[in-house]
């Protein structure tokens, strides 16, 4: 007699594999997305017009089109013009470019929120521009980026499910397969929701810990 518990136990190994893949995609993509966000966010504030315009084109292109279509384009069209990438590379690159575009606005906003007087003080101390950026602007802007970046990270976890459509056996891919082969549709999808929630909530807690350590309240020492 098959009980719910035995079903779950039977499904567990494959679901865990899928969940690990989902977590791996997320953790692999996030640093690249943050890097693209930082580069594009800084580029948008550049005094060099071509650099700023290039950043705007990138951001608007990736924000203004569907992530799923971007994935399909990279997966199906690029090989036609001779660019062969593995599904993993395609998936991670597309996700990182897409989330980097959104993230660049977070970076830009946080940099613009640093009071003008902070930059002027640095310039009056004869700091070269790259030092002003590294020693004054970024240390003050990064704490302000943490909460919105945390939000983006959760979005990223959920967006990884789209990679199931380009043959990557992530949590969604495995779930779909199990639902079809076992016929346990309700159980499988409830489990899927629970696992996604578990991953997302764990990341939320991690980001909160990061904020407590490096967040605005702490680094700016608002109160004694």
């Amino acid at each position: 007699m098959e009980t719910l518990l035995t079903t779950v136990i039977a499904l567990a190994p494959r679901l865990v594999d899928g969940a690990m893949t989902t977590v791996a995609i997320t953790l692999l993509t996030a640093p690249f997305a943050a890097l693209f966000a930082l580069i594009a966010g800084l580029a948008r504030l550049s005094h060099v017009r071509t650099i700023a315009v290039a950043a705007v084109v990138y951001v608007e292109l990736f924000r203004g089109t569907s992530l799923l279509v971007q994935l399909f384009f990279m997966f199906y069209v690029l090989p036609l013009i001779g660019i062969e990438l593995s599904p993993w590379t395609t998936g991670v690159a597309t996700l990182a470019l897409n989330f980097g575009a959104y993230g660049s606005e977070i970076v830009r906003g946080a940099l613009l929120a640093v009071p003008r007087g902070q930059i002027e003080a640095a310039l009056a101390l004869h700091m070269p521009p790259n030092r002003v950026l590294r020693r004054v602007l970024l240390p003050q802007a990064l704490p302000a980026m943490l909460p919105p970046f945390g939000n983006q990270l959760i979005e990223l976890v959920k967006a990884t499910s789209l990679l199931s459509l380009i043959t990557i056996s992530d949590l969604t891919f495995v779930g779909n397969a199990l639902a079809q082969t076992t016929g346990r549709v309700t159980t499988v999808y409830i489990l899927l929701l629970a696992v996604y929630f578990g991953i997302a909530y764990t990341l939320t807690l991690a980001m909160r810990a990061l904020e407590r350590r490096y967040g605005v309240a702490r680094t700016m020492a608002a109160a004694r």
């Binding site: 020492a221 608002a222 004694r224």
Partner: protein, 266 residues
């Protein structure tokens, strides 16, 4: 006396600063036009005038926070390398520009201490990262400077844990840590509570006794200007109305506009 840089003509006394024919406008509003000013080394110059007179713009141009639209700026006999590009003046050689401006220190109305650094770190930041001073040595000197303004105990506080007067004293020390030869003070007591003004003025009074440092003080504190300055330049709408020894300016201002301003200010 620190060694003066070689100049082409050797015409003593050396000007710490020479502005000639400076023009500056913001979005169509002309702030300065054909503005010229010589400041001999060691002078305590009080730059006074109502709001919109252009006095703060003069300081910001000297400090490099604004670019002139026209004219020349010389520091210790050396012309700052601006060049004309697309109808504007741009720094020809930014590193050279920073190097030439190295003797300038500036203190701001709103202190502008780095909010993410402690008082001590605010002071050591530029000595370590601009001058390349060894950190231990920079910290020792910074602590001595903080001690000289009565703040050694608060070295590890963040700016937001300090009163306005304390922050401004840290800001002055931060400027001093680069051993400036020209100090620019931009209404440094204007955003302080009245009871904190005295502690900042006391520090500046002490500084003014050092004959080697040229001071340009933009201020509304007429009593302080009278006490500390050797020379007063009174500006109105970007133009120098009166340029006189401080004692003459305060006892017998020649221009009726100076008299009107002094009557209002006192």
């Amino acid at each position: 006396m620190p060694a003066a840089p070689e100049t082409a003509h050797h015409t003593p006394p050396l000007n710490a600063l020479r502005l000639s024919g400076i023009g500056k406008s913001f979005g169509g509003a002309t702030i300065l036009s054909g503005f010229s000013l010589d400041v001999p080394e060691g002078q305590r110059l009080a730059l006074i005038g109502g709001s919109g007179s252009g006095k703060t713009t003069v300081l910001r141009l000297i400090a490099g926070l604004e670019r002139p639209d026209a004219g020349d700026i010389e520091l210790f006999g050396r012309r700052l390398p601006y060049r004309r590009f697309a109808g504007r003046l741009i720094p020809d050689d930014p590193p050279e520009m920073r190097e030439l401006r190295r003797p300038i220190g500036m203190v701001f109305q709103h202190f502008n201490l780095f909010l993410h650094l402690t008082a001590l770190e605010n002071v050591t930041e530029a000595p370590i990262h601009v001058l390349g001073q060894p950190p231990a040595e920079a910290r020792r000197e910074a602590l001595a400077l903080l001690d000289s303004v009565g703040l050694a105990d608060l070295a590890d506080r963040y700016p937001r844990q300090l009163s306005g007067g304390q922050q401004q004293r840290v800001a002055i020390v931060r400027a001093l840590a680069l051993r400036p030869r020209v100090l620019l003070f931009d209404e440094v007591t204007a955003s302080l509570d009245p009871e904190k003004v005295a502690e900042v003025l006391a520090v500046m009074r002490t500084l003014a006794t050092d004959e080697r440092v040229t001071m340009i003080i933009v201020t509304h504190e007429m009593g302080f200007a009278r006490e500390v300055a050797d020379r007063v330049v009174f500006m109105q709408r970007g133009v120098i109305v009166e340029d006189a020894p401080a004692i003459d300016f305060f006892t017998a201002p020649r221009d009726p506009r100076s008299r009107a301003f002094l009557n209002l200010a006192s």
